[in-house]
Amino acid sequence: MKRLSPFNITSLTLGFAFLYLPMILLVIYSFNSSKLVTVWAGFSTKWYGELLRDEAFLDAALVTIKVAVMSSALATVLGTMAAYVLVNGGRFFGRTLFSGMIYAPLVMPEVITGLSLLLLFIGIGMDRGVLTIVLAHTTFAMCYVSVVVSSRLVSFDRSLEEAALDLGCNRFDAFRLVTLPIIAPAVISGWLLAFTLSLDDLVIASFVSGPSSTTLPIKIWSSVRLGVSPEINALSTMMIGIVTIGVITASLVSKRKSLNAQKDAQAAERAA
């Protein structure tokens, strides 16, 4: 092991402190037994218990997960389709314009997206509720999906699809049996991205949500305005925990995959 110079140690410490100090504080205070957030009064898990008994929070969590599952699924399908057409559709009229436009929502301020969707829903007389949030989240998440998927499709060998057609597939079967399995990692990471975006969206959801459909971020935001409660700390800690487990699992899986690929390559060399 190489020893780090004092300068490197300092910058490393500062950087990580900057990133993680707020979160560490939050985690610590979620185990505070005092109701006052800033005063440490001993270790306790009572706020976790309170949280699980708080129906408003549980409802919000349920709504959030429902919205995230539905909108990410929808965004994945639509985004993949859009990417496929834009990459493989050849040079049809207006292609450049379309491929530019699909990325526009990425840079559009969320406030504007939210406001325009609100106007649309009011205009067509749609009651605001879970459905409107799902639609709104699909709208902005599908461009992220399409960006991720189209970057994979660009390097996709078109002759694979031609081979499938040649061997008797129709266009849909060729996509389902050959293209989709190969680009699956990109589709999955697009879906994950859409899911997380939907989970933590506050701005757009607050425009298009109705009274019966409060998502978790809206709930947290509104209760914090009344004062930070230790319950919120507990909730946030749980979310951090879930995200951490997810990230670690994903990186372990991909690491194992690359190890297997290495082994395969060695086996192929021996076979040759």
Binding site: S159, E162, A163, L165, L167, G168, D264, A268, A271
Partner: protein, 400 residues
Amino acid sequence: MGPLRPCLFFYLFLRGDLVAKPSTDTWDKEFSPWNDPDEKPLIRFKNVTKKFGDFVAIDDLTLDIYTREFFALLGPSGCGKTTMMRMLAGFESVTEGTIELAGQNIADVPPNQRAVNMMFQSYALFPHLSIYDNIAFGLKRDKLPKDKIDARVAEMLKLVRLEKFARRKPHQISGGQRQRVALARSLAKGPKLLLLDEPLGALDKKLRQDTQFELMDIQETTGTTFVIVTHDQEEAMTVASRVAVMDEGRIIQVATPGGIYEGPNSVYVADFIGDVNIITGTAKAAGESKYYVDWGVNQAPILATSERPFSDGQECHLAIRPEKISITKEKPEEAENAVQGKVLDIAYLGNLSTYHVELPGGQIIKAQTANTRRLSRRNITWEDPVWIRWNATAGVLLAE
């Protein structure tokens, strides 16, 4: 010179210059459906034109390919050979004209319904499927029963000698093995026609040569008609029953490998296939099917035979392969054509030596000799004055 004379004669006999050549049309006596007027072609291109925008990729092309042929499309990149193949597979539409497969116009038949399979240049093996599933892919699309698929895949694996690798994924086998899987996959459905797009391009030279013979064996065993696209003339000559030499969307010549090599119809073909000397001059009749070629100031005219007629004074090009020209230090007696020159360069290739001989006019002629004897004393060296000679029948007289 007395005792040497019979030897020289025998040598010339062996080289075939003195023996009457079979006409190029009857080169292959065992298999030549293209000479049989009753034979129906499997594929018929009728005045096919293909345009990409303003670019003409295939220009009014007419061609017949017969059942069980191993047909090679040969040409430089961009000559339209791949476009022709993709039109046969159904990936490109025809702008004008028709393509018939077994008498049927296939313009409106989508690729998945043609009795044509293709082996892709990149092999296009499905990376997420095992070798077994790759080969079974086309059979499964036909909804065959499981035991039939199993039997057919096993047969194919045996054909390409990959029985042990059925469970592997494509990235777990070597390049040569991948090439064989691609071949097995495209043959599994028993197509009427197999298209091979530069099938050996990704293999190294030694493996490529072995695989060429393997391809020929497999073509013979299965009896499938093969159409191969290649830019490698050696490969085309080795594997094909007939070769079509293409340039800029047109077919310049279609003939057997022997016909293409010994009887090219143009300077382009002569130059594209193998090594050749081109001597340009003007023709003058010298008896039946014989012409004198005036080719340089202060040079005796060259005597050449030609089936094609030339008018007096017509510009013509004499194409002679280097191995048809012999080189000696002494002036040869009774040679039909003999010219003196100076050795400029010697390329020693082991089995052959090629001499670059500069003629007084500045033209350089390549003459090739087989090094039939080991450790033979090479008495010709750089800057030596030498004589080169060839027979009237050695070259081909071309108009363009």
